[in-house]
């Protein structure tokens, strides 16, 4: 479930775009430094968002030009905020490792072998990360178990299933000090986590109906092979809109920093753009870098 939280490029100011890229590169660098070169492959947009949210409580970090293994001959601007990136990098490794474990369970023999290999490759990094953030690791294990239970029971509640994933995302802010800071952050991350989970569920819906696998939307709306009916889809979109509104009202309560227009762009424009693409069945085909403006309806 990665790749759903991105900025909406067409409305992004240049300095925000630069900051976003520098945060992305900074996270990649932090992963490489702490967990070895192969951990750099785990960098993703969603965790960059997590860093930006957490960084709203911190002063501006210096931006330096650093070596990038993907571009051997050019250095790239990169946020250097060791302290800020450390917990985010640990969360990234833990979540990716859990994703690998989940994929092993979900896929067949040959694909499963590939994931088993990945699991071996990332096991050491995972152990280090779990040691760095033991509480988060415990929450993830616990909630994924709960999610598995709900899946086995074919739960028809989209709230309960989304809650497990959203709780994991909001736990990424559990280690922050101060109620005033932590509560809006958790609330924001909760709604974003919920949004991501439900986007993913909608994205997979047809496939899941075809292969007769579990999908909360399938049981909640009794969806057929064509996906949701128009009316259900309208209702579902309203639920998603409410999530964005709640995320937005939590976002307003974060301390104001230079980063807030960027976060507003991601929450108010990026998330809905991704949802619209998922809804139209265009998300997976779309260019992988930043959702573009809609053409046509």
């Amino acid at each position: 479930m990665f790749g759903y939280v991105r900025p909406y490029r067409d409305e992004l100011r240049l300095r925000d775009y630069d900051r976003y890229r520098a945060a992305y590169c900074g996270l990649c660098r932090a992963l490489g430094k702490t967990y070895g070169f192969r951990a750099r492959f785990l960098v993703n947009y969603d965790m960059t968002f997590l860093y930006l949210v957490r960084a709203s409580a911190r002063g501006g970090a210096p931006c330096r030009r650093c070596f990038c293994p993907a571009r051997l001959f050019r250095k790239k601007p990169c946020l250097c905020d060791e302290e800020g990136f450390a917990p985010v990098a640990a969360c990234t490794v833990i979540l990716c490792y859990c994703k690998i474990l989940d994929n092993i369970l979900d896929s067949g023999f040959f694909k499963g072998l590939a994931y088993r290999l990945l699991k071996l490759l990332y096991r050491r990094a995972y152990r280090r990360a779990a040691k760095a953030m033991p509480q988060f690791d415990a929450v993830v294990t616990d909630r994924l178990k709960a999610l598995n239970g709900l899946e086995q029971a074919h739960s028809a509640s989209i709230d309960a299933t989304a809650d497990t994933f959203a709780a994991i995302v909001s736990a990424c802010a559990d280690d922050l000090p101060g109620d005033e800071l932590r509560r809006p952050m958790q609330s924001l991350l909760y709604q974003v986590g919920r949004y991501v989970y439900l986007c993913d569920a909608l994205d997979d819906l047809r496939e899941d109906v075809r292969t007769d696998s579990y999908n909360p939307l399938r049981f909640r709306f009794s969806a057929g092979p064509e996906g949701l009916s128009d009316e259900d889809l309208r209702y579902f979109s309203q639920l998603m809109d409410s999530s964005v509104n709640l995320a937005g009202s939590a976002l307003s309560l974060l301390p104001e920093q230079s980063g807030s227009p960027l976060l507003e762009n991601i929450v108010y424009l990026g998330l809905p753009a991704v949802f619209t693409a998922v809804r139209a069945g265009r998300f997976r085909k779309q260019s992988k870098v930043f959702p573009r403006k809609e053409t046509g309806s």
Partner: protein, 207 residues
């Protein structure tokens, strides 16, 4: 106290009208209506208080400076009205419901939920409060189902209707229209409702 200019996000040399504009923007952002039934309402109202104090402080200071020139500041900061649950709509009596509402105000959702779970009489108020709990947890689908039932059982209740509109994202009197999401504004009845509510609630901010 923080520097009032910093709170409003304006420079010290900004004109009075710029300050007023910045102030109104912030009031829109943190208005209690945007945080209706929201577990973060207390933080928002603190923020609102800070903004009001900052605005008053700046305006007073400026009035003091320019008193010789003859202008004086007649305090016109927005007097925030907070819509507590005590505000009357619920004359349904039952003291247990009152307790549940107190729990809700204190964000004690589990306590409220278990109290409701123990009640056998399930009327509109019960469904509404169940919806409130779900909404505060972020369980929006469930919240909407409960609100729907409550509205169906007591069609005339404005509080329930407002909650319903809130969860549908159509109750947006103070929201920034360029960003807020809400795709269901084409219902004429909803618009009338929203205007009515707006009229009732908006008395405090005419200037």
């Amino acid at each position: 106290m923080r520097d009032p200019y910093e709170v409003l996000g304006v420079s010290r040399t900004a004109s009075d009208s710029d300050i007023k504009k910045a102030y109104h923007e912030l009031v829109k952002k943190y208005h209690p209506d945007n945080y209706a039934n929201n577990p973060l309402a207390d933080l928002a109202s603190e923020k609102m208080k800070e903004i009001n104090e900052a605005y008053d402080a700046i305006m007073k200071a400026r009035a003091g400076e320019s008193q010789n020139a003859g202008s004086s500041y007649a305090g016109s900061s927005y007097s925030g009205s907070s819509y507590g649950y005590q505000s009357g709509q619920s004359s349904y009596g039952s003291s247990q419901y009152a307790t549940v509402r107190t729990y809700l105000n204190n964000n004690r959702l589990d306590a409220a939920d278990s109290l409701l779970g123990g009640m056998s009489n399930r009327d509109a108020e019960w469904y509404y409060l169940k919806g409130e709990i779900a909404f505060r947890r972020g369980w929006l689908d469930e919240a909407r189902q409960y609100y729907q039932t409550a509205c169906g059982m007591a069609p005339g209740n404005l509080e329930y209707q407002r909650a319903m509109q809130n969860v549908r994202g159509t109750y947006t009197p103070y929201r920034q229209t360029n960003y807020r999401q809400g795709s269901d504004l084409n219902d004429a009845c909803n618009i009338c409702n929203a205007l009515l509510c707006l009229n009732c609630l908006c008395g405090g901010c005419n200037n």
